[in-house]
Amino acid sequence: MLGLDKKHTNLLLLVFVLTLLAPFILNPFPEGSGMAQFNAGYPDLMQRFVIFGIFAIGFNILFGLTGYLSFGHAAFLGVGSYAAMWMMKLLTMNIIPAIAVSVIVAGLFALLVGWISLRRSGIYFSILTLAFAQMSYALAYSVLTPITGGETGLQPKLQDPRILDGALEAGASPKANLFGLEMGSSFEWSVGSWLFTFNVGYYVAAIAMLASFYLAIRIFNSPFGMMLRAIKSNQQRLNYTGLNARPYTLAAFVVSGMYAGLAGGLMVAMDTQVGAERMFWTASGEVVLMTILGGAGTLIGPVLGAGMIKYMENIMSKINSTILHEWFAFLPDGLEDFVVTLIYPFIGKGWHLTLGLIFMLVVIFLPGGLVEGGQRIAKLFKRKNPSSDTPDGKTTPAE
């Protein structure tokens, strides 16, 4: 289907079904129950899952395939966001031109940054990209304030020209929409004590994510993708096989910059504001974490990594000491306090500590990320019941 082989078609279908049903899957606990705080099925977070999924998929095309570790990818996200915001201010609140322009502008910026940074490889390349990103961040805060809004950032204002949109009614505020369908609008479906929210913005972002994912599969399976992996594997051999690594890495860099731009544009479409902190180096570092945590160089890994980090950031960080005390209320008082004190540094604001520990464990024991973890578990199950695979009861050697 769609020019993919069976394995990849199945993967794409799986991701399609999961994103389509995400409002159900992410809301397994009934409203009002003690576990409801683990529900992730609200629009804001679901949008973040898919948007950062796009960001990480794009980053993985560069880092996972070519091995070039960019430490400045948030710059493209930020530039895409600003571009989208200006389209919304000048042209229309319809998200199509905003997103299209964010991808193009981020791509052009990536072309410039890549053209310069790719003269070096390894740590020097990483430092160059980091320098560019921090430069963009500093510029956005200072001299470029007329364009970026400086510290306050940018929001759509009533007096913006918006030449394609009609005048707003009195009292109405400009809202991001897709031909009139507002990104913020949701359909809520209440089943028993469960509440499922189907948000327009989420599904728009999900479609973009599925398209990005499909594109990534095509790139992975193409000769172009193989050349990128060859660059990571042995650039010397590639050069002496008559292939010029520069345009390949530059193309990968631009493509991944465009993915970041798309993510930035979608962020503006969902939540109509942008500030320079989006380009800070920690944001660049986050996408590196996502990709490595999920599994660099794998297709689904970056999406998993993005989901995991965003889930922890939004859910783990909400657990406070009161909630902990409720959980461990069944313990004797002294012990309860002790257990809560023990766990407290790892939750709430301390979620970074948990993330750090998980990241260390993954890097040390599962260099292939969560995907490798999944593969190992799958292998365990295969080994456990080999007789059920083959009718004659003979064991088959593991692949």
Partner: protein
């Protein structure tokens, strides 16, 4: 005029004159060996041919065109393939993928942004790569990770990858260095077969006299950056200057 003409090539690294004044001509469809003791400048000379180094003086002409100032990939596209001292293959890729890459490079040139075709649906390329693997006797290993192969097989794959590009000149840099005797003999047999079956010029740099005398039709002896003698293997064997340069090494090795 040979297919490769090296004229007055000199290269200096700081105070060290690595290559003095090298004049060398490799005849088309011959097998030419360059031997010499350690530090004689063999590798420097080779690096000057493939674009890794640019000589300070002189000219290197391949098939009537200068290679100087061109990048390694451009020189490769002109028809010069290089086999490295330690086999350079794509370790993270499968054996078949290793073979697909030179096939794509041969047909599509140094850069093709073909990001939307499935590489295994490109029958022409896949068939060519599988044919090459069969010729190298590695068809069964096509799905294996290239890094897991033995040294001898890595060398075989590397040579196969070079041949897949149908080069006019194959440069070999100590192709049997660090190999067990059996692997060395296999490699010699493979190279002999290549020499007999194809219209290809082979230039080989080698320490191992057994390899050199099994393969070469002409031998140049390099010492301290300058060619000492150039002759047929039989004449080289007994040449007093060669013995002197090697300080008796030839007697042990041969």
């Amino acid at each position: 005029m040979g297919i490769l003409d090296i004229k007055n090539v000199g290269k200096r690294f700081g105070g060290l004159q690595a290559l003095g004044d090298v004049n060398l001509s490799v005849a088309e469809n011959s097998c030419h060996a360059i031997i010499g003791p350690n530090g004689a400048g063999k590798s420097t000379l080779l690096n000057c041919l493939v674009g890794k180094l640019i000589p300070d003086t002189g000219s290197v002409m391949f098939d009537g065109k200068s290679v100087l100032g061109r990048k390694p990939y451009e020189i490769n596209q002109m028809g010069i393939s290089r086999v490295f001292q330690t086999p350079e293959i794509f370790g993270d890729l499968s054996v078949l993928e290793n073979m697909l890459i030179p096939c794509f490079a041969k047909r599509d040139g140094s850069f093709t942004p073909n990001a939307f075709i499935d590489m295994y649906k490109d029958r022409e390329i896949v068939e060519r790569a599988e044919h090459m693997l069969e010729e190298m006797g590695m068809a069964d290993a096509r799905g294996d990770n290239a890094a897991t192969m033995s040294r001898g097989n890595k060398r075989r794959l590397e040579i196969g990858m070079c041949l897949a590009q149908e080069p006019r000149l194959l440069l070999l840099d100590e192709p049997t260095a660090g190999m067990a005797r059996a692997d060395t003999n296999n490699t010699i047999d493979l190279l002999k077969q290549i020499k007999d079956e194809r219209d290809i010029t082979i230039a080989i740099i080698e320490h191992d006299m057994h390899v050199v005398f099994s393969l070469a039709e002409r031998i140049t002896v390099l010492a301290q950056g300058t060619p000492l003698v150039e002759d047929t293997p039989d004449k080289i064997k007994g040449h007093p200057k060669v013995r002197e340069a090697y300080l008796g090494e030839t007697q042990d090795a041969a």
